[in-house]
């Protein structure tokens, strides 16, 4: 890895070590692993179908969904959905042994499909399931895998996949290529890519394949599943409005100002890595490479400098407002609006400005009780002093 970067956008360096085995020339097509848990499709698969469609179009090949699931209508329904979201066809292994995610049968299933139908690219979500499976399949196939990508492109010069992700603890980006092995595998973070518009008229063929396994060959058994109580957890990833605070909030008590503005806007509260590491707020609220990736309509960042590792978690926001007392803070390079000044003064002022504007709008609309700037003491317990 290069240490010095004189050029902010250096050319690609692809030092080929040896040659690609000619057998890989037959590997064609882009695959997206369609993830489900407890009968529900994971949205990251739809996001990847959107991205996979672009890659397949660029390469002039088919996009396939890969569904591993029980032998019932739900698996075929996942195939149909994958087609609506852009797949040309689906590979399906429908076997009741695949009802719950387990590493061993899923690894065999995906590995067998790859060896039989030979795709050039395989994409999975960077979820606990996708990362578990991708690492196992890539090692079985002895091919390269790039984790947690935030960018996927094709280099038309040699049709290779360029996978970009943060590096050096999230201070810089790197682009990784897999020169000599196929398929090229990558996992991508949920919410990094947009969900494409579905087309219910789209359909395609389903290629079925047997699992070829018995339950007694599978060592690990799922004895229980304890669903999360979603009300207990912040739902950052899918929030439309987020107010986030960073190290610039100076101390835990000040974070209340972030919660207050979030309350007025009905927003979720986010935080940068130093804040969650310091324990000011729960780790579930972290936005960034090692936290959640978000795509809200409005993202307000207070006292966040905008390190790469935070940026990759929020640059999908529609509109970003940055509050910072440093005019050179990188966050201003990728925000729409900037407020230069002290977050501790600007946040209450912004809270008041939003509250009065929202009250006026509601009066115009002739309904609802005008909100006052929220300062809810009940939220205080979120902040460990």
């Amino acid at each position: 890895m290069s240490d010095v970067l004189d050029n902010p956008n250096p050319p690609l360096k692809k030092k080929r070590r040896g040659q690609m085995d000619p057998k890989y020339a037959a590997y064609k097509g882009v695959w997206v692993f369609v993830e489900h848990e407890r009968g529900a499709l994971h949205p990251v698969s739809l996001e990847l179908l959107g991205k996979g469609r672009q890659l397949a179009d660029k390469l002039g090949v088919d996009l396939a969904g890969v569904v591993l699931g029980p032998n019932d209508p739900s698996s075929r329904d996942f195939c149909a959905q994958a087609m609506h979201y852009g797949a040309d066809l689906c590979y399906l292994i429908a076997d009741d042994l695949l009802r719950d995610y387990r590493n061993q049968p899923y690894t065999k299933a995906l590995t067998d499909l790859v060896n039989t139908f030979q795709p050039e690219i395989v994409l999975l979500g960077a979820t606990t399931q996708g990362r578990d499976l991708a690492g196992s399949v890539a090692t079985t196939l002895l091919t390269g895998l790039t984790a947690d990508c935030t960018g996927l492109e094709i280099d038309m010069e040699d049709r290779s996949l360029l996978s970009s992700r943060p590096t050096f603890g999230g201070s810089l980006m790197c682009t990784i290529v897999n020169l000599n092995m196929r398929p090229q595998m990558a996992t991508a973070r949920p919410r990094v890519f947009a969900v494409p518009e579905p087309d219910p008229a789209r359909s395609g063929r389903i290629v079925e394949h047997p699992l070829g396994m018995n339950e007694d060959e599978i060592v690990t058994k799922v004895v229980d599943f304890i669903p999360d109580n979603l009300q207990d957890k912040p739902q950052l990833a899918f929030a439309d409005f987020i107010v986030a605070g960073g190290r610039g909030m100076a101390k835990a008590e000040n974070f209340q100002l972030v919660f207050d503005l979030a309350k007025t806007l009905g927003a979720e509260t986010g935080a940068s890595r130093p804040v969650t590491h310091a324990g000011w707020v729960d780790a579930e609220r972290q936005v960034g490479q090692s936290g959640k990736t978000v795509r809200p309509k409005l993202y307000i960042a207070a006292g966040i400098s905008g390190a790469v590792q935070h940026r990759v978690g929020m640059e999908g926001s529609d509109v970003t407002v940055a509050i910072n007392n440093d005019p050179n803070a990188p966050i201003f390079d990728f925000s729409n609006y900037g407020l230069l000044g002290d977050a501790m003064t600007l946040l209450p002022a912004l809270n008041a400005a939003f509250a009065s504007r929202l009250a006026a709008e509601r009066k115009l609309a002739g309904g609802g009780t005008p909100p006052s700037p929220a300062t809810d003491v009940a939220q205080q317990e979120e902040v460990s002093l």
Binding site: T143, P274, F332
Partner: protein
Amino acid sequence: MHIVVCIKQVPDSAQIRVHPVTNTIMRQGVPAIINPFDLFALEEALRLKDKYGARVTVMSMGPAQAEEAMKKALSFGANDAILVSDKIFAGADTLATSYALAAAIRKLDETRPVDIVFTGKQTIDGDTAQVGPGLAIRLNAQLLTYVSKIRGIDAATREIVVERRAEGGVQVLASKMPCVVTMLEGSNEMRFATMPDMFRAARFDVQHWNRDAAGIEDIKQVGLKGSPTVVAKVFAPSPKAVKAEMIPGETPAAQCTALVDRLFAEHPKLAADLLKHLDSLNHSPEAAR
């Protein structure tokens, strides 16, 4: 019971800075630490040592300086430490790393059979979470990732029951040893090193295994040669085409009112969505709080 804990020495990424002008990584003075996620693995192994009298061997692949991390692990109470270190391992990606570590674990297994390999869910410098799954495949062991709790181990039947973080809930899995367990963060709290263990660690002769000692036969599978992935470039992300428009104002209040006015005027859809969103919250029982 014999447990191997795979750890990695990493630069404390929270302290890595990029020079604002030259975009150079400023490495000077960045301390090397045990990957924080690996501490949860080590502590869990030490708890099994306390509970079942297990033997705990820490293992790492890295340069000679990583001995410092091994000694740290010993000071917490590990029985033995092996540093798998050879120039030929340099430049390894996760595939080549799991090959070398698996070879060393198999070698260790010849003299003292290994029941569980523990590791952190990922490292803070690579963030890939790939070496754990790679080890399980190469060792033909069961893979249990993102484990938040070990419910119990039955030494006679060799059964292990764990809670695993899945999407939308926790899977309770009953599996068998040998297995590879990657521990979730926050699953336990690292103990303090005791005085006797600190003294023992300081004097401890950490074993250094080169490729021959680790039983590595195929040198084409380690280091740069064994790594299918190549870093093609490292770069600072480019600023968006348009920089943030700075909203001026005589006072913070004026600044903020101007910003809100601009937001509502220039993003009418956003404003409408915000009002709709607040209305929906008002109609929900949540708003009663």
